[in-house]
Amino acid sequence: MKSAITVGGATNWFVDRNIFSSADIYQQELERIFRRAWLYVGHESQIPNVGDFFLTKMGEDSMILTRDQEGKPRVMLNSCRHRGMKVCRYDEGNTKLFYCPYHAWSYGLDGRLVGLPAQKESYDASFDKSKWGLVQVAQVATFKGTIWATWDPNAPPFEEYLGGAADALRVGLGPWDAGDGEVEVISGVQKWIIPANWKIVAENCAGDTLHDISHRSVDLARIGPGEGVGRRDPFGKLYLTHHREGHGLLYEKFDIHAPREHYSSSPETAAYFQMTWKKRVERLGERAGNAPVLGNIFPSSGFHVGQPRTIVAAHPRGPNETELWRVFLVDKAAPPAVKDFLRRYYISYAGPAGMTEQDDMENWAYATEACGGTGRSLQFHYGAAMGQSHQDPLIPGNVSDQFWSEQNARQLYTRWQQFMDAKSWDDLRFEDAR
């Protein structure tokens, strides 16, 4: 396709609005991006035991995430091979079999076709059941509790795919004390549908520092977890960084010796944070003062590390619609009162009733709408702080000199264009990363 990106002088970096409204481009995205990329599908804590399953999504498809007899996570298309019926219709549970309600084909935890009425009578010996199991993804990976999958057998291994973003996930998805403890999903998933293109969500998750001002209402209303703060406890100095693989992140740097008084409105939480913070510093030393804040793993798996601690998958549903699935994470070892305080804070911040995310969604929705009508022939502007990045010894990636930069969005669309143009992963892998 013709490039959707126009780059001119020092402040000219434009993206065609029609990639946010065209039905044709959307169909191509499903093929070229969502069937090639690694996608977040769930968390190990959601399927701790053999036979546990959890319904998830990849692109527009309903997928079964389950733990098979060998304890391995499996990701399979939730559609009977006979006539397509959903073989799993429960959001979660534990089972031995996925049983199709239509004509009773049944499948094992590993997706194999195990039962088939009238097999002897009606199917020739040539019928090879092993070929008619549930459709499986090509690769599954786990990473610090999270589970990822890709349809593409030629996609690189997940860590290669992450590239320099692995550090942020490794740190960000672990417990607060940086130890070996587990992090778990608070039971339940917030699922909701918004009238916005998925890329606008992704660009936000990748670190859209300029929209900070849109959250003035929560800053004024002081919804944060500390006395007197706005919507969050204060950050250190913030840095955007991005990776050629398309991922965008935000890090903070701060003085590990300075006092930190986070979560001051909940004494238990503040105490837990002090305790874990101390351990973290013991373990990491100065590196504890370089922390990932949030980020987006290409194409549209977003995460926040702390306030709130959450993962959001933006599942496409057409050019103008996205289904958001959001989970919240807590240290498994945290006291119940701490978990509860955090849970309440998190859902008051993010999700459809999240006071902060509400204002984001308003902007995403009408930015998307503006890509129809006359908007089809216009462009969005991504020219803030072009060409101003550096390398940092403690923050992987291309670190922006400027906080007010659109470099992460530029990298997102650059990578997006590469995926759209590529014939296969051969065109997308980085030689030096293999």
Partner: protein, 186 residues
Amino acid sequence: MSTPMTGPMNGQDKLAHLLLMREIEDFLYREADLLDEREFNAWLELFSDDIRYWMPIRKNLSFKNRERDISGDHETAWFDDNRKTLQSRVNQIMTGVHWAEEPLSRVSHLISNIRIEGEYRDVEGAEILVKSHFLVHRNRMETETAFLAGRRHDTLRRVGSSFKICKRKIIIDQTTLTVKNLSFFF
């Protein structure tokens, strides 16, 4: 029919019961009007300081697990507010720069099926469990429209000649919300 805890009702009890039902209806309808007329701070006054304003999420589960299809006390929810966070929500709207509600939604709360669950005593500080159904219609901007239906379990605490809502559990029917946000109240 719900009865006072005082044993068989005499004529006076009966009248008192009828008056109480009317008082509860009037209270909940007034509450709805305060919301629909955007008197958010006055609305907040109807809640006690220890309010739990809670909307669990729903799940698709198998028949045998059907009773767990409303998320529990310590699970993810849509809302799980206390007095302070409820107040924040109101404050946010009152800033005039809460974009999700600027311009303000036009909302109607249809409240029906009001009834008392269980026996009750109507004395100062006593709590009465009141069930109701709701249909909330929200329209904003040009054509943004949502109808959300469900049930509420309210605990009303008798305070003088009125009540304070000290617990509200909101059970909605949707699992995947088809509305972009919940920037309005239930």
